[in-house]
Amino acid sequence: DVKVTQSSRYLVKRTGEKVFLECVQDMDHENMFWYRQDPGLGLRLIYFSYDVKMKEKGDIPEGYSVSREKKERFSLILESASTNQTSMYLCASKTQGAGGLYEQYFGPGTRLTVT
């Protein structure tokens, strides 16, 4: 079974803190993604990575950065957390190939609250 795990299910941070969200997949997938999910807005892509040390901006990268030092691990970093970054964060991975022909496997999500 494909497994995507996220370091925390729930996280509460203060405004201005640096926040790290970790994601690990065990299927040797090349592609990894970070999304945020907000009611009525669906999933919006923050960043994705095709390979180790490779990253590309998604639709809403502002206020976020990422790191991929190992193939199985993709980290999302909030340099200075703000209240508008309160959201559900979902990590996903998939094998390389046309985006719509292969399943994206999702982690359970991290619900981040910034106070």
Partner: protein, 110 residues
């Protein structure tokens, strides 16, 4: 950025009824996927459709891809409480990324 609109946003029906939810875009998809997400979990893939006009069935669920590949529908026959969840469509526009719709939150009342 391509946008996918799903309708309705919320749907609540009695067990045993039929329902249809829709996914629409102004752009042509290369392919389209439907996912279901249950509370506290990530989305899980239900189906992928690729060809315009394609129809796929998954037990009581029927997925249709529009002829022009700009829209899709999901029809559920004789809904069960286990069908409750958030249904998301996701379109691929010719690259490695998916664009997700806004979602339909379905509640089946016993």
């Amino acid at each position: 950025t391509q946008l996918l609109e799903q309708s309705p946003q919320f749907l609540s029906i009695q067990e045993g009824e039929n329902l249809t939810v829709y996914c629409n875009s102004s752009s042509v998809f290369s392919s389209l996927q439907w996912y279901r997400q249950e509370p506290g979990e990530g989305p899980v893939l239900l189906v992928t459709v690729v060809t315009g006009g394609e129809v796929k069935k998954l037990k009581r669920l029927t997925f249709q891809f529009g002829d022009a590949r700009k829209d899709s529908s999901l029809h559920i026959t004789a809904a069960q409480t286990g069908d409750t969840g958030l249904y998301l469509c996701a379109g691929e526009f010719g690259n490695e990324k998916l664009t997700f719709g806004t979602g339909t939150r379905l509640t089946i009342i016993p």
